[in-house]
Amino acid sequence: MGFPWTDGAIRLAVLWLGLVGGIAASRDRKQIAIDIVTRALPVKVKRITDIIAHVFTASVTGLLAWYSLRFVQDSYAFGDTLLSDWPAWIFQLILPIGFAMICFRYVLRALREFIGPDL
């Protein structure tokens, strides 16, 4: 049906959608998380646990962004291709960008909890 690479293009689009949606979910605080414990905490304690959770998430996504960048660099260096002859790194670039933006969001949130709402 159609071009031989439409199927692959659609699947790549879903991956992009997932990461863009993931960035939006981080922004909207809609990432799936367990909140039974934190919901019950007093405000002051919750601020501390929030900072810990945000710093944790920021570190993990920071690492993910860094290693995704390495993955993209390798793919660039090897000249990997996708969808017949497009350079693969173009499509893979969403990984480091997406993770970096999520990381940024959590750094910001941690700072905001730390310094106060003025930031």
């Binding site: 199927d7 939006a24 959770a53 993990v60 996504t61 390495r70 893979q92």
Partner: protein, 417 residues
């Protein structure tokens, strides 16, 4: 190993997003195995090699559009016109229409908000007991998970590698069984009800005319899927296009300027699911490499002998899991681990899927995090305890049906070849 596990669990309980906890676990594992961590990106990129994945955003979007439109009202009116004369009819209508709606919109609580809010006053007005109504509506919010094209069913297929068509077939009888059990209870509970509506040919016709545009949807999608005419992703595309066409162009119930907002809202949910799915591709791969399923089996095997006691342990485990995790994360995280263990005990992967989802349905009704309890409590302004008490008889019935579904594999498997 155990220490890191505990530490990760702490971060999870402190409210760190699930995907970051899973990613951290996988990265630690790969790091110890001295594997370069860019493997995380390679695995995550593997999302783009999963063929059926496109069904997830499409069905989610279609579900969001449907629940913003007036199709819930039309669905209720039509089923009331058809079944309102029957003792307990309205209750049975509620069950059936909620199941249908949930199958199409995914059990994200939207059923209680969209349909429950209509059905609850109607039930009260028809003279049903208030406590019964609360319980019924809360329970109905997750009914229908076992019917095509429900998202959890598709996700189980993607994760387990089981054919989704087989899962759709396998869900029919257990799903109907749950429905019939609850309908029977509703009938029995309201057998003396007096206020029954009369059948009116005119009302039936008017209701049909009103919902003429939506009626083809379940027929086309379900017919297409079950007859094998559509692949799942094609059915998803047809549903999304059809829903846009009907609600926005023909009926004009949703203005075009709302479209970006609905798209964004649905894509936030999709993003949250795909983030977890992407990182767990990596963690699953690590765990399989590290032989975790085998070790898990060894542990389980030393406590549990035989299929019957395995199923019992599984039900208990899933009930607890369902009470603390949402259904999508539970499927993504747990299925890759228990699938190999279950097959060692001779549990068919399709049967396992049905048992898994049926038990998860109960999780929606179990405190502390049962989603339906919260949504009902929020929507109907009752305390969680009150809602839980009202739901209890339904919970027991569903639990019974889950046990029967678990120990009677033929219910799930008889429709397969």
């Amino acid at each position: 190993m155990i220490l890191t596990g505990l530490l990760l669990a702490v971060f999870m309980l402190l409210g760190a997003p699930l995907f970051s906890v899973i990613a951290a676990g996988a990265m630690l594992g790969f790091y110890r195995a001295e594997i370069d961590l860019s493997v995380m990106a390679i695995e995550f990129f593997g999302l783009s090699e999963m063929p059926i994945l496109v069904a997830i955003p499409l069905f989610t979007f279609a579900g969001f559009v449907l629940s913003e439109s007036n199709s819930p009202q039309r669905l209720v009116r039509l089923s009331n016109a058809l079944l309102g004369w029957f003792p307990g009819g309205l209750a049975i209508i509620s069950l059936a229409s909620c199941a249908l709606f949930t199958a199409f919109t995914g059990a994200s609580g939207v059923t209680i908000i969209a349909l429950g809010a209509l059905l609850y006053p109607a039930l009260c007005e028809a003279g049903y007991e208030e406590k019964f109504n609360l319980g019924l509506i809360t329970t109905s919010g997750s009914l229908g998970l076992l019917f095509a094209p429900s998202l959890p069913l598709i996700l189980y297929g993607i994760i387990s590698g089981v054919s989704i068509d087989n899962l759709f077939l396998a869900g029919i009888i257990p799903g109907l069984f749950m429905l019939v059990l609850l309908a029977g209870y509703s009938f029995w509970k309201n057998r003396h009800a007096r206020k029954l509506t009369k059948v009116s040919g005119r009302e039936v016709l008017a209701a049909i005319r009103e919902s003429i545009w939506e009626l083809p949807l379940p027929v086309v999608v379900l017919g297409g899927i079950y007859s094998g005419y559509f692949a799942v992703s094609e059915a998803a595309a047809v549903t999304a296009l059809y829903v846009i066409f009907v609600e926005m162009i023909v009926l004009k119930e949703i203005p075009w300027r709302e479209l970006p907002r609905i798209m964004r809202e649905s894509m936030v949910l999709v993003g949250a699911i795909l983030m977890i799915l992407g990182v767990s591709l990596a963690s699953t791969n690590y765990m399989i490499d590290a032989g975790v399923p085998e070790r898990l089996f060894a542990v389980v095997d030393s406590y549990v002998a035989g299929q019957a006691s395995f199923l019992f342990a599984l039900l208990i485990f899933l009930l607890i899991l369902g009470a603390i995790l949402d259904i999508f994360s539970a499927i993504i995280l747990v299925v890759p681990l228990i699938l190999p263990v279950a097959s060692q005990y001779g549990v068919h992967p399709v049967h396992l899927g049905i048992v898994f989802l049926a038990t998860m349905e109960l999780g929606y009704l179990t405190p502390p995090v049962g989603l339906n309890l919260f949504i009902s409590s929020f929507r109907f302004e009752r305390s969680i305890t009150e809602i839980f008490r009202a739901t209890f008889p339904f919970f027991i019935l569903l639990l019974t049906s889950v046990i029967i579904i678990a120990y009677w594999p033929a219910l799930s498997l008889v429709l397969l070849d």
